[in-house]
């Protein structure tokens, strides 16, 4: 058998058999779900406790209407979400009423209170010990706005029945066009999740297998096994064998995760429809994985101690995490110039394309360009890595300086 294949087979089998791999296989998806899905579940989860909301209305115009509106909001189990309490005290000055109300809020006698005053225009604030709850604020905003619209229209002598009609809000339903006449999935949340999950998977996998690779290279270097290896095959055979073995490992891991995913899909938030771009996303996933693995093999070969290995892997991990910084902006505006530029840079391309593929309908040409960029840059990285690898695996002691590295590349 070709020696490259022998190396690949060894790298793959030894790592698949390792305990660390088996653990990560199950632990990674679990952690991902925990970190990506759980917080959103908590945010969107409904409260199940009635809250007391204070009202301090110096205009005296809203109080009567706000109370029934707020108290009509119900929780899931049909109990009122809020009850109100009037904090207006006759005979006190405005400032002392506010101080008194603040005190109540701080003592948690009320969850918070609405302060309604009329300076030049109407100013409404919600004062509370904690202002964290999105749901509460949006509930209150809706109530106040509805009342305000109604009041304004009535003052212009609009008929009450018309006012009620206007109050019914129209919501816009976003639809992604696939083909003329054909609709795609438009659920932002699930799109977000399926991109997010793959990007996080790519990151964890690259960082994880990169570390594994650097560590195993370190082992081979420190006990001079590397000398036995390169006295049996060429450094290039070793390099390609390692890249191939790790790529196989990556594919095996994805396949395993897909199986786990299929088994678990009924129980999670993510629907099948958000995985319709799976083949495209997987393609970019693999391309990105191959690119980063080639990078790790070259740079990983220069370390000779555990500390250096950690240093190097953390630097590389930063490069990897970088695209995630742009993730949200790419999500919100997948067709902006900035995101388009990122989709031509090999370091960010796989991540960005995974997002774009999910949010936009990309043409075949766009895919071909992206794939060509990755193909060429991976070839360049493999070539450069090979040069560093050949010398790096035989140098012990100090890590080479940048100057030395450049001289290696020239050799």
């Amino acid at each position: 058998m070709n020696k490259t294949l022998l190396v690949a087979k060894w790298e793959f089998l030894e790592k698949v058999k390792s305990k660390a791999f088996v653990i990560s296989l199950f632990l990674t998806p679990l952690l991902l779900i925990l970190f990506s899905v759980a917080p959103t579940l908590l945010i969107t989860a409904e409260e199940d406790e009635t809250k007391v909301i204070g009202i301090l209305d110096f205009t005296n115009e809203y109080f009567d209407q706000i109370i029934p509106s707020i108290e009509s909001i119900k929780l899931k189990n049909n109990i009122p979400a809020y009850i109100t309490q009037n904090l207006f005290v006759r005979g006190l000055s405005k400032d002392s009423m506010i101080i008194l109300a603040d005190k109540k809020a701080l003592d948690k006698k009320v969850e918070g209170y609405l302060l309604i005053e009329n300076k030049d225009s109407l100013i409404i604030s919600y004062r509370s010990k904690s202002v964290g709850s999105f749901k509460l604020i949006s509930d209150l905003e809706k109530v106040v706005n509805d009342i305000n619209i109604k009041k304004t229209l009535l003052s212009k002598n609009v008929d009450l029945s018309i006012v009620e009609l206007i109050k019914n809000r129209i919501e816009i339903n976003p639809v992604k066009i696939k083909q003329p006449g054909e609709e795609g999935d438009s659920e932002f949340l699930s799109t977000f999740f399926s991109s997010m999950i793959f990007i996080l998977l790519l990151m964890t996998m690259v960082i994880y297998s990169g570390q594994m690779l650097v560590r195993s290279l370190l082992e081979e270097k420190s006990n001079r096994l590397i000398e036995i290896l390169v006295s049996s095959c060429t450094p290039n055979e070793l390099l390609f064998g390692k890249i191939m073995g790790l790529s196989l490992l990556g594919i095996a891991q994805i396949l395993a995760w897909i199986l786990i995913g299929i088994a678990a899909v009924g129980t999670t938030l993510v629907s099948y429809s958000s995985f319709e771009n799976l083949p495209t996303i997987l393609l970019y996933f693999l391309i990105g994985y191959l690119f980063y693995t080639s990078l790790f093999v070259g740079i990983g070969s220069i370390v000779s101690t555990e500390q250096e290995a950690q240093q190097i892997t953390s630097y590389l991990s930063i490069i990897l995490v970088l695209p995630v910084v742009f993730l949200l902006s790419a999500m919100q505006n997948p067709d902006s110039t900035f995101v388009n530029i990122l989709s031509y840079i090999p370091f960010t391309l796989p991540t960005v394309m995974m997002i774009k593929a999910n949010l936009l309908e990309l043409s075949l040409l766009e895919h071909l360009v992206a794939i060509s960029i990755m193909f060429i840059s991976t070839l360049i990285v493999v070539f450069l890595s090979g040069k560093i690898f050949r010398i790096g695996i035989l140098s012990y002691g100090k890590m080479p300086s940048l100057k030395e590295l450049i001289s290696w590349l020239k050799e």
Binding site: W10, E14, S222, E227, I228, V230, S231
Partner: protein, 299 residues
């Protein structure tokens, strides 16, 4: 037959090896000796095709070394270690497969060697579970399982107890009988003296002593004696006849100047002290090594 011609290797400014030439004949052990940092491992790495020489040629059976040649060499590095987490048999099979041994033959050979070294029962254990000595045995197997024509052994006996050392030595002698070429790099001068027929002493990248062991001993010159005497030995410093001497716990070895006959020196010694034991000896390789390197340093 391995021929090294004018081997030179520079690492930037550093001249690791300069203009080295030697031949390793089949059926002979070639000793590659020298202090730490003399250039031994650079020489070895050039021979195993791991580094490219700056200048010079390495020929095996008359042809420049190439890819096929890799399958015919066996190498035992000085620093030992194998894939710790892997199974013994797996490691042996992997390294053997890289030497192009047919798949069906690997297991047979591996079992044979494990049997020979008395560790057949350990083949399914992880390497890290084995004692240091047994790990070394595995590594030895890995360097010989493909039946190489050229065997390069770097400190092959370090870490072995005397019984295992003897065992390994016997295997090495068997290889000699089969007409293989062997390069032995070691700091143990007594081992080199017993096994090597040719030696090359390196210092600072250059050959300082080279040739057959017998010739080297003959050319080293002077007379060497071993004496046991009672009392203080400091008076030896004042004797003109003594070039150098070395004190061991039970005796002293003295290197006499060329024109001094041992019997005349004995007469002189008897006048100064009482002698328990007196013996004329050949210079040991150890002695030659130390004197040569010291001379080089004083130059």
């Amino acid at each position: 037959m391995l021929e090294v011609k004018n081997l030179t290797k520079h690492y930037g400014e550093i001249k690791a090896v300069e203009n080295l030439s030697f031949t390793v004949y089949p059926g002979k052990i070639f000793g590659l000796l020298g202090p730490n940092g003399a250039g031994k491992s650079t020489t070895i790495k050039s021979i195993i095709n791991v580094i490219k020489p700056t200048e010079g040629q390495i020929l095996f059976d008359g042809k420049p070394i190439n890819y096929q040649y890799l399958n015919r060499i066996g190498y035992l590095p000085e620093e030992r270690g194998l894939y710790k987490k892997s199974k013994v048999i797996d490691v042996i099979c992997y390294l053997a497969s890289l030497k192009n041994i047919p798949k069906d033959e690997i297991i047979t050979r591996a079992n044979l060697w494990l049997e020979k070294l008395g560790i057949a029962d350990l083949k399914n254990r992880r390497v890290e579970e084995l004692s240091k000595g047994n790990q070394q045995k595995i590594q030895f197997i890995c360097s010989v399982i493909h039946n190489p024509d050229l065997l390069i052994l770097d400190e092959p006996f370090s870490g072995f107890d005397p019984i295992n050392q003897q065992e390994i030595k016997n295997f090495i002698l068997d290889f000699l009988d089969e007409g293989k070429s062997i390069i032995l790099s070691t700091h143990q001068m007594d081992t080199a003296e017993k096994l090597c027929s040719e030696i090359l002493l390196l210092n600072k990248g250059k050959s300082v002593l080279q040739g057959s062991l017998q010739e080297i001993k003959k050319n080293f010159g002077g007379n060497h004696i071993r004496v046991s005497l009672i009392g203080d030995t400091n008076f030896l410093d004042s004797l003109d006849e003594v070039i150098s001497y070395e004190v061991y716990s039970n005796f002293i070895e003295i290197h006499l100047a060329n024109n001094i006959s041992p019997s005349n020196f004995l007469k002189k010694l008897v006048e100064k002290t009482s002698i328990e034991h007196f013996l004329i000896i050949e210079p040991t390789l150890h002695k030659i090594f130390i004197d040569t390197i010291k001379n080089e340093k004083s130059k």
